[in-house]
Symmetry: C2
Subunit: 405 residues, 2 copies
Amino acid sequence: MNSAEKSASVSSHELPTGFRFAGATGGIKASGKSDVSLIVSDRPCVAAAVTTTNQVFAAPVQICRERTPRATCRAVITNSGNANACTGQEGIDDAIAMCGQVAKLIGCDAEDVLVMSTGVIGQRLPMEKVQRGIELASEALGSSERDFLAAADAICTTDSYRKTASTTFQTDGKTYRIAAMCKGAGMIAPNMATMLGVIVTDFPMSGPEAQASLSRIVERTFNRVSVDGHTSTNDTVVLLSSGAGDWVTSDEAAAEFVEAATDTCLKLAKLLVADGEGAVRFFEVAVEGASNDADALTIAKCVAASPLVKTAIQGGDPNWGRIVSAAGYAGPPIEVGKTSLSIEGHCVFRDGRPLAFDATDMSGRMKQASEVKLLLRVGDGSGASKYWSSDLTEDYVRFNSLYTT
Amino acid sequence: MNSAEKSASVSSHELPTGFRFAGATGGIKASGKSDVSLIVSDRPCVAAAVTTTNQVFAAPVQICRERTPRATCRAVITNSGNANACTGQEGIDDAIAMCGQVAKLIGCDAEDVLVMSTGVIGQRLPMEKVQRGIELASEALGSSERDFLAAADAICTTDSYRKTASTTFQTDGKTYRIAAMCKGAGMIAPNMATMLGVIVTDFPMSGPEAQASLSRIVERTFNRVSVDGHTSTNDTVVLLSSGAGDWVTSDEAAAEFVEAATDTCLKLAKLLVADGEGAVRFFEVAVEGASNDADALTIAKCVAASPLVKTAIQGGDPNWGRIVSAAGYAGPPIEVGKTSLSIEGHCVFRDGRPLAFDATDMSGRMKQASEVKLLLRVGDGSGASKYWSSDLTEDYVRFNSLYTT
């Protein structure tokens, strides 16, 4: 991803009505960067959340699971710098206290506040600093783009840049807005990655509709990218809808929302991978011809996760052997005699046999590509899927080998 | 693994009777190192083989599958420097021709010769050089340890040292010998790893017995180690028994053979991981308390494969968060409240909560350990398993990022 594309994350955003945003500095981070992010809905809004599949999950994840979907959500409070994970009952109490403080400040039931955390695991939250940050954030709430960006900045950890995206779409003769933010960059010293995301929209939907839509959106975006395949204890994506729920939208309109939100989140997901620690280059693995889409996804994910493929991408090495063999051990059946591979649009392996190609020229194309495209056909099936990943670099190893505990 | 342990691979070996060995240089390798290895059984011997699970498999793998198990095997011919993979029907013809040439030279049916290859994939074998190597090897055959070691040297590729092991065991009042060799070091430029192994013994068994025993041996040894999880197109392990098949051994004796051979192959498997490209340190992941052994193995393998865990081992970082969270996303159910972790015998995480420990001291222990031991208890179940892996280093990335195609 080149700088032009990265800068898309700071282009102007049209924000949905009904939400206010703030970022503040409570002092949780030693760096002094903002570490408390608050999003408030002026009226009760519909909220849905998807959370980590890790059996070891953080206290705020448990709270989000218990409180979604719901139609009376008023706020999402997020702290960065401490994940509040592996902290036992005290951690649960701290997460509940964060929600309670926000509820008092904005005037709502504590149950109507959601909470997210990201950072070091295994340590209690420094609650005085968290409380200070929440106070400051509640005083800074605003509905301008500057406020939205401040909230997006405050959820970042090792991210090298803020990650936001937005869009508008028309349906049923109305115009709706979607704005979203996320954070994530691979690892957070001294522990593991966390991906957090918030999607706000004025498109109306019920709680169950929001939950179903969010699951479909995440499955095709944040669940299609990987920096290192290490699932965090804190991963959470929240969808907030301020749309009036007193009228029902058509199924077509709901589908259009999912499509628009998917496009927006895919942009964020790619920014997340491109910002993977140590990542220099990122790549797309498109698989076609599998028995079904699920098999295609399994194969694409396996190719994208192979350290041999990731180092080949890093080196600009059109190493078809590593890619084809990764497809061969992914699990789903492939027709080797009908397996073909294109790198950056050039076929280098067709029907199970390598083709002659100018390796030096191909290497140059790979090194210049902002997103190296691999297209792998594994048979005559109708199954197709895509997956995105970052390369594996010496910087990644250096960063994560540093003695940091 | 320290140098003392590594040197075990070149300690003296007691070889089973009935086999002759040779290594020769046909010129397949640009380096000029030996690249043709020949093992001959003076009498028809029992042969079994296990091969790669990769759907993209090399020509010699197909030949080995077709010809095992069998009770009339006379030889195994191996070339290094070219994998004869993704070479189509011509590759099959070349592999068959290698066997045919050996059969003529030693006087047996071509069907009684097995073949293995390792090296670059996607290129035809340089048959003149292969044939020259086979001729030289057949003239150099001998039954001394020097001959055995020459055969072991000739199967190596990027290995930094030869990998051999042997043992003797007594059963039914008789003494039997097992000698084994293997190669493998992660990657072979410009393509993927290949693990090859040969086990020779004078313990008598039938073809089906040999096949069943070899599967059990490999499952607990070579299938329990990983450098990068990338399954090769050429992986093959062959078991040869020169024992007279005219009498039946007891089940107890057969079990004792499996145990002795497993100990021998586990030594080789560890040498293989310790020699992983760029590997500085290697580590054992022991999982206990799982629902069953299969679940324990899945969890151990997931922890051992995590880039975050591998880089932590590299950095001497007692990073319990990375290890526990990897167990959390492995798949099999774990009881987080009953999950505990010990690093080098020191408990750092007990019943779902981190313990206070001297991180600097622990880091020192990890850096000094020849084999860092991780013991993870995930509940009260009876399932237990072990897995071995190497750390992830900048050298690994540097080696595999080099533009080599």
